[in-house]
Point group: C2
Chain length 332, copies 2
DNA sequence: CTGAAAGCGCTAACAG
DNA sequence: CTGTTAGCGCTTTCAG
């Protein structure tokens, strides 16, 4: 900046004014400064400026998702980025990997860089560690999972309702022995979906004893093996409800291995690419992660713009997409 | 920081020393400072520190990928993040959307925040705008696509070779009328893959006139319609080579629409989830995006650690995965 | 082992 | 319309 000022033959502050588009600079001076800046390839140091600037905004957001390699997270990320880009805000993105012990460290990484806001998918038992930061006025929005120990804007889908609906759908097709295949039990969405599953059974008067729930299926292979075991046992289920994407794929692989795809019904929570082209096509409870990301980002920017109304809990509705696998009737 | 110093009853510099783990601080003082910091929930401002620090490192990287919503990009991102996390480095991630006009602006967004390094997938005709920054010593690595107008570390896959191999594979199964379905022609990988396709035909002595190339298929639907048109025409191809993921899916949908999946052979560039469970299973030229991201990040960190050897061009080999769709023999 | 003074690149407040 | 001075939160340098 000093070099620019020297080259243009003006004072430091004048350069600052031109760069920030402040008024009260003559046309010719502006010209000179811009030329000098271009010649020196000058790019202002945003952080240094924000050190002294009144609003103290870094125009930076911290985003924590399940894994940036996962399409569900990718859609959330993309939504946040799209809104952020409009406001000249850059996004730090990190992966949680459902590891509670990583959460705090990643958030600190963001905070040390003085992000303007935080959009978080969490796994730790409590998010109370955020209280001081929230107190300080940093907006925080939780996405996909509800927080514990801190009150802030939250965007989730109707996990229990979606799971109930799917379960009721299977019941309506004559199934009574239905298996629930769940993710790690520490994950809030898993517990919600399991709750919805059990509630639907209860509402239909189906004894819980006829339902099998297998949990902590943390990847495709573990899920696949669980299904193989389940279907080889006594009283094998005639339908499967899978609580998540990767588990659904494990289920599909297992059914394919057994040639049971057209005999055992299945519905998966979360839509995925090509689900409609499989044989049978896969019935799913579809979420809308892009929308969830959009709402979360909107909340953050609204807070940054001064909205100080009480924390909002936003529920995005899921949608049952019937494609075939969930409409197979119970047999035997 | 001042508050911490006051609360602990020590000088500013002592706090600084404790926080940075510098030597020459007594045990008891360290204790006091840490307590005060914890009590005040103090987190040092990384950017402010880096303003004066000798190495001037922000421990921040800028990553530009095709789209953070795309699994290919997600894998690159994840690889970069994994390496960056080990070094306490945060990653800004942005989506290019193959829009040359966005490229420069996003890079400036990164540069204004003084990132330590840049990992870029580019679309603009030239990356010469980066020369001053490279001159200044900021390490830049290009991933997936080669740059123009600037010399820097580059990680690409063997696009032409992979495409040649796939084409030769189709030729070996008796196909002569093969269609190439390509992405936007501004994209370097598209041109390379097309080149590989044509070279394989040439090497086999197949007249180029018997090959159809359709380009600028920028999404699933456009690709699907192109295939429908192609197969309805005279001299319809008996095999299809698709240059990219989304196009492959468009092809599959079109073949499904026509019930031609087991008659028209196809190979796609890029592997994708569930390709092996479709009917027929899809033969692909698989890339390894996670590995590409890893290598790019390694280059950046090596440069940051002082490696000033000439720019390296790293080629990651692709792999033909035979699953069925590419092994259908030519008919009629 | 500890602290005071100077300065990183920039902007706020005020003076010309 | 323009320049000067102070100071953001921190680290460096150098003197206790």
């Amino acid at each position: 900046m000093r070099q620019v000022a020297a080259l243009a033959g003006v004072g430091l502050k004048t350069v600052s004014r031109v760069i920030n588009g402040e008024p009260n600079v003559s046309e010719s001076t502006t010209q000179k400064v811009n030329e000098a800046a271009a010649q020196l390839n000058y790019l202002p140091d945003l952080q240094a400026g924000n050190l002294r600037r009144g609003d103290r905004k870094t125009r930076t957001l911290g985003l924590l998702v399940g894994s940036v390699a996962n399409p569900f997270s990718g859609a959330i990320h993309r939504a946040v980025e799209d809104l952020a880009a409009e406001r000249g805000t850059a996004v730090f993105a990190s992966s949680l990997d459902d590891d509670p012990s990583r959460e705090r460290g990643i958030v600190d990484t963001f905070l040390r860089r003085r992000v303007d806001g935080l959009i978080l998918t969490t796994a730790a038992r409590s998010q109370a560690y955020l209280l001081p930061e929230v107190e300080r006025g940093t907006p925080v929005a939780f996405v996909d999972r509800e927080p514990t120990g801190v009150d802030a804007d939250t965007v989730v889908c109707d996990n229990a309702e979606g799971a109930s609906l799917a379960t009721a759908h299977l019941l309506a097709h004559g199934h009574r022995r239905i298996a629930f295949l769940g993710d790690r039990t520490e994950i809030w969405t898993e517990r919600e979906r399991r709750r919805g599953f059990l509630e639907a059974l209860g509402a239909a008067g189906v004894p819980t004893s006829s339902a099998t729930t297998v949990e902590n299926l943390y990847d495709v292979d573990v899920a696949r093996e669980a299904v193989l075991r389940l279907l080889a046992g006594e009283n094998a289920p005639t339908a499967i409800f899978s609580s998540q994407n990767l588990i659904s794929i494990g289920v599909i692989r297992a059914l394919r291995d057994l040639g049971a795809g057209n005999r055992v019904a299945m519905i998966g929570f979360d839509d995925f690419q090509l689900a409609d082209l499989l044989e049978p096509a896969v019935t799913v409870v579809a979420q809308d992660p892009y929308r969830m990301g959009t709402i979360a980002a909107e909340r953050i920017f609204a807070r940054l713009d001064g909205d100080d109304s009480p924390a909002v809990r936003h529920v995005v509705r899921t949608r049952l997409i019937e494609r075939g696998s969930g409409e197979l009737r119970a047999h035997g």
